[in-house]
């Protein structure tokens, strides 16, 4: 029965009530049936060229492609019967006759739809007795994407992405028939700031990432759902790590934020995580010091500077939990001058945000003020400074006007107390992205087991300053404590923020 814009159909004997206007692939997905597909993608135009989603529609003579067949009330679809299986096996055979089968040296192995569907739908043997067609391999499409024409199945997802989503329309097909080959127009180098999405879209190993190539087999890696921290968009990503080093980021579907995509800038914004020069132990007076020693020194420095005033400068790369921990330290010390640094840059209409840090809104939420363009010439007894990533720094003269310095930084920084920072893939926490959306970051690795996260360090410092204070034992509890206290977070829980994030309650003043 059809009502409220829904239709009921039968797919492989299962009854499915689905929204009218969707195709058979999506309808099948809703009842847990996977119709294999290469060229179809929910956000790209339907071209129907791979032919692997062929289904039988009762009453229709020829097999129909699931991607271009819209559901109808009473439709009876068969996605697995003998006729469909035979034709699908045929399509897999056609796809593989000229495929180089170089899985052993192919980066896509392990997450390759050609491998998956060959196992699920292929015949396992070949009847093709001729030499395979030869096409060029290892073609550079610029400094980010590498193309292998032999592995390409000509699904044209990359062509359509750059045309329809990125808007640069840079790839087309040369020649025809079995000689068809993708080409990049002009000098053969891609220019789109979103070009690396075609690597994710490519269902096979034809497009690989120059950054990630040959670094690791995917089955040895750990994948952690988190967000991109290169700008305020907070694109949802999966961070891939191995042996406590970060190897890649790929976008994670979130219809409210980034859909299926992310910018190349965000994707490649992680080199500092693996930086060999990172400090892994605090220093006090220029000498390595265990955390308790360094924190006692910091306590002494900050308490001694109370009368002359303390300047606190936070970083918009910090999580909300860290910012609230820093706020607690500032409250305990009676710090009035609380600022945060926010790097700005170019934005666009798609995903790239002009704020080049993820959590300016969280800084404002925790009561930090935007750093002034012109710092006053005021002198301070001490500086409590969480140094942002390379894009922005506190002006040297401002630092010099502070007599003593407690600095959190990734690499060594001249100061009385220098405490190592951790990056966002090394901790759990939340940030407030553009659109006032609270989103979680999650720990995917530990750079060095000696490191403590900033929240823990700041809470310990707070306890030194005020023995009555007791920090939360985990980031989740810290978030809950924050949500209980702050009206903008009222009602939110770690679980309700979840994988896709949630809107802040009252956030007008944060943007």
């Amino acid at each position: 029965m059809s009502d409220n814009g829904h239709v009921t159909l039968t797919i492989d004997g299962k009854e499915a009530t689905v929204p009218a206007g969707i195709n058979v692939i999506e309808a099948a997905k809703q009842v847990g049936i996977e119709v294999p597909h290469y060229c179809y993608h929910p956000r790209l135009s339907v071209v129907g060229n791979c032919r692997v989603c062929l289904c039988e529609i009762e009453g229709v003579g020829q097999l129909q492609i699931g991607c271009n067949t819209l559901v109808r009330d009473g439709m009876v679809v068969n996605t697995t019967n003998e006729r469909v299986s035979r034709m699908r096996e045929g399509v897999m055979e056609f796809l593989l006759i000229n495929h180089p089968l170089d899985c052993t040296i192919c980066d896509q192995a392990g997450e390759c739809k050609l491998q998956d569907y060959a196992v699920d739908h292929g015949s396992g043997i070949t009847r093709f007795e001729f030499d395979k067609g030869k096409k060029p391999k290892n073609i550079s499409w610029g400094d980010r994407v590498v193309f292998d024409a032999e592995r390409c199945i000509l699904c044209t997802r990359c062509v359509r992405f750059l045309d329809e989503i990125a808007g640069t329309d840079e790839i087309s097909i040369d020649h025809r028939g079995e000689k068809s080959q993708l080409v990049v127009r002009g000098d053969g180098k891609l220019t789109s700031p979103y070009q690396m999405n075609i690597i994710d879209l490519c269902p096979v190993g034809a497009l690989t990432s120059r950054d990630f190539r040959f670094k690791s087999r995917v089955w040895f890696m750990k994948f952690t759902p988190t967000i991109d921290t290169s700008d305020a968009r907070g694109c949802n990503v999966v961070a891939g790590t191995r042996d406590n080093r970060m190897l890649r980021m790929v976008p994670r579907y979130n219809p409210n934020v980034n859909d299926y995509w992310m910018s190349d800038h965000g994707r490649l914004h992680y080199a500092f995580v693996n930086d060999e020069d990172r400090i892994v132990m605090p220093t006090a007076g220029g000498k390595p010091a265990p955390y308790p020693v360094a924190l006692s020194r910091a306590q002494a420095v900050l308490e001694g500077a109370r009368d002359e005033g303390i300047l606190c400068v936070a970083s918009s790369y910090m999580t909300n939990e860290e910012l609230f921990a820093l706020k607690g330290v500032c409250d305990a010390l009676g710090v009035e001058d609380r600022y945060f640094l926010l790097p700005m840059g170019e934005g666009d209409d798609l995903l790239i945000h002009p704020e080049k840090a993820p959590n300016a809104r969280g800084c404002r939420l925790a009561g930090f003020r935007d750093a002034p363009d012109d710092w006053s010439s005021q002198e301070f007894g001490a500086l409590l400074y969480v140094k942002p990533r390379e894009l922005i720094e506190l002006p040297a003269e401002v630092i010099e006007r502070c007599k003593k310095k407690v600095v959190f930084s990734l690499t060594k920084h001249a100061s009385d107390v220098n405490i190592p920072l951790t990056t966002w893939v090394e901790k759990d926490g939340t940030m407030v992205s553009a659109g006032d959306r609270v989103q979680c970051v999650r720990q995917g690795m530990v750079y060095e087991p000696t490191l403590l996260t900033e929240r823990v360090v700041l809470d310990r410092l707070h306890t030194l300053l005020d023995p009555a204070f007791k920090g939360a034992s985990t980031a989740v509890l810290a978030f809950q404590r924050m949500a209980d206290e702050h009206p903008a977070l009222d009602g939110l829980t770690w679980l309700s923020v979840g994988l896709l994030g949630a809107k802040l309650n009252k956030a007008e003043a944060l943007a």
Partner: protein, 419 residues
């Protein structure tokens, strides 16, 4: 004796027929003028429906019904695209119309435009047909100067412009959706249907795609009446049709014939084509262009109309009757056909892109070495998997002839060739 019935080709032998003055003197554009001033667009469609005209591009879809699919009361512009990308091997009839009586096609195009409410028509002419392109462009210029094309034609409210668009040498652009993609300036790839061109065609607007000969027939129908047309030929194959006889014949050429169940395909080959040039026995006939199944010499006694030839297991297709005698090796014939289609596969759909070349390579092996055990079964299975699994009919155009040759000449594919 079978005789030609010349309607479309009535004045084709007059070299001056390509000029507007001569065309008009011979009654040209009278039907169009009458339609504009005395008939409603729907009257024109009704006349075409009454005639029983079926498209002459090869698929034989009823023309009037195609026109009726164009949505009414839709404010999108509507287009006519005339398919003059005549490239099916053996087919050479549209060129005759364009080069010897181009106004007849233009008049039909204007009538179709009037019937469906189109204000622009494109003639998509095969790029190699330089002479056709020149003559049709000259004809359009002359007609435009005489206010037969352009704004407020002959003082009426009806406006329609016609443009020639030369193709760039791809067979696939004769497929109607590829033709539209190519017209839009893109790579000539067929598109998935639905939507059909009549609903969403050129630039996603309603578009009627008709063959050149179909347009010439429309002119004849409006000139002489739908009843006249329906009275010619036989049921299901009304009117006259241009047939292109080629191959090992005494008198190959383009002939305008009525279809009939009273005589046979063999009669046409013998009486019109004059039998084989060498006198050697016929080995096979491809009655509808190279993309339809072959008929063996003993299968030619079917009636000469669409239904009868279909019953015999093939099709009159685009009217290209290709005859080969027993001096040729059918392995060469089928290899040649497969080479053509694998070369022309656009490469979009997996089964056609990969399969057509695989088929070609197998047939090449059959030609030089003969098939190994199991090869014939593999070829049949591979072609089965190309049949009906692609966007357009190009894959079928290789499957049907190849399978028919394998089935009908088993002796030619039976054993290894010994050196």
């Amino acid at each position: 004796m079978i005789q030609e019935t010349r309607a479309m080709l009535e004045f084709a032998d007059d070299p001056k027929q390509i000029e507007l003055a001569t065309y008009r003197k011979n009654g040209g554009y009278d039907a169009f003028e009458k339609a504009l001033k005395e008939m409603s667009p729907d009257d024109v469609t009704q006349e075409v429906l009454k005639s029983g005209l079926r498209g002459r591009g090869g698929a034989g879809f009823p023309t009037g019904r195609k026109w009726q699919f164009v949505p009414k009361g839709n404010d999108k512009p509507k287009y006519i695209a005339v398919n003059a990308d005549e490239s099916e091997p053996g087919t050479c009839k549209d060129r005759v119309i364009m080069e010897q009586d181009p106004h007849q096609m233009l008049e039909g195009t204007l009538l179709a435009a009037y019937a469906v409410g189109a204000t622009t028509a494109y003639i998509y002419i095969r790029g190699e047909f330089q002479k056709s392109i020149r003559i049709v462009e000259d004809a359009i210029d002359e007609a435009r100067a005489a206010n037969l094309i352009g704004k407020n034609i002959l003082g009426t409210d009806f406006s329609c412009d016609i443009w020639v668009h030369p193709g760039a040498g791809a067979y696939i652009c004769g497929e109607e959706t590829a033709l539209l993609t190519s017209l839009e300036g893109n790579r000539g790839y067929p598109r998935i249907k639905p939507p059909f061109p009549a609903v969403e065609g050129l630039w996603r607007c309603p578009t009627v795609v008709n063959n050149v000969e179909t347009m010439a027939c429309v002119t004849q129908i409006l000139r002489r009446g739908g009843d006249w047309f329906a009275g010619l030929g036989c049921e299901g194959s009304t009117g006259t049709r241009l047939f292109c006889l080629s191959g090992h014949l005494k008198r190959p050429g383009v002939y305008e014939l009525e279809c009939s169940t009273d005589f046979t395909l063999r009669d046409v080959i013998e009486q019109i084509g004059g039998g084989t040039l060498s006198g050697a026995p016929i080995q096979g006939v491809m009655p509808g262009g190279s993309s339809f199944p072959v008929l063996r010499a003993d299968e030619l006694d079917c009636g000469f109309d669409i239904e009868s030839v279909a019953k015999a297991g093939s099709s009159l297709g685009s009217g290209a009757i290709m005859v080969f005698d027993d001096t040729v090796n059918v392995r060469d014939v089928v290899l040649n056909i497969s080479e053509f289609y694998s070369h022309e596969s656009c490469g979009q759909c997996t089964p056609c892109r990969e399969g057509s070349d695989w088929v070609r390579r197998m047939l090449k092996k059959f030609q030089t070495d003969g098939p190994d055990e199991g090869d014939i079964a593999t070829l049949m299975d591979v072609t089965d998997k190309m049949d009906g699994t692609t966007i357009c009919a190009l894959a079928v155009a290789i499957v049907w002839p190849v399978q028919s040759f394998l089935k009908k000449y088993p002796e030619a594919f039976a054993e290894k060739v010994t050196a």
